[in-house]
């Protein structure tokens, strides 16, 4: 799943470690989420959204294929 985490973090001039500290997770976790290697659980996604003051949908983007499949239903 794609996300805007890196951009949102850069806008606030936070390092990965800064965000990890705020989320109380490891820096590796932030890196894995940013690079799309790991999709966070719903509770963690909500924590991320709360920290940026946005909704989950404003941070995490559905895959194009997934969106197409849903539109076809």
């Amino acid at each position: 799943m794609k996300n805007r985490l890196r951009v949102l973090r850069a806008e606030r001039q936070w390092s990965q470690q800064d965000l990890a500290d705020r989320l109380e997770v490891s820096r590796q976790s932030v890196n894995a989420i940013e690079t799309g290697k790991y999709d966070p659980s719903l509770p963690l996604a909500f924590r991320i959204a709360d920290i940026f003051g946005l909704t989950i949908e404003q941070i995490f983007l559905r895959d194009v294929a997934e969106q197409g499949a849903q539109a076809a239903q």
């Binding site: 990890a20 500290d21 109380e24 997770v25 490891s26 820096r27 590796q28 976790s29 890196n31 894995a32 989420i33 690079t35 290697k37 790991y38 966070p40 659980s41 963690l44």
Partner: protein, 140 residues
């Protein structure tokens, strides 16, 4: 977040592993001295001979506790993947060697090597995580 060795769950893991290894080495030494050299027989000998093997049960329990106690969900995923790689490697090696022993004149491998291979498999699992996920995890 605190460095890996300062995280309470990682620290507990290391302490528990150290205790399990002490139990393993202690019981192995006791079995050598009391059974092999001292001629201990009967149920005490069976109980003592089982102890080094049972210390592997402690290792599996310790690894399970690490997964349960870890608060970082991504690290938890890495541990689970590590454990799956280790389990797959150890059981596959045991099955393959078992059939080799059945059909071909290969050397016999004592069964206690399979859980030992599982422990080495954790290292392979950490390497697999490193290659595929970019990090080996906190307790690799």
């Amino acid at each position: 977040m605190t460095p890996a060795f300062k995280k309470p769950e990682a620290r507990r893991y290391l302490i528990r592993i150290a205790l399990a290894m002490a139990l393993y080495l202690g019981s192995l030494y006791a079995a050598e001295v009391l059974i092999e050299d001292g001629g201990l027989r009967g149920w005490p000998a069976y109980a003592l001979a089982a102890l080094p093997g049972l210390s592997f049960a402690a290792v599996f329990w310790i690894f399970a506790r690490l997964i349960v106690e870890e608060r970082d969900e991504f690290q938890r995923l890495l541990y689970v993947r590590q454990g799956m790689v280790a389990t797959g490697l150890a059981l596959t090696a045991a099955a393959v060697w078992g059939f080799l022993e059945t059909y071909l004149p290969v050397a016999h491998v004592e069964a206690y090597w399979w859980p030992t291979i599982w422990c080495f498999g954790l290292g392979v699992g950490a390497l697999y995580n490193r290659v595929t996920m970019g990090t080996a995890g906190d307790c690799a």
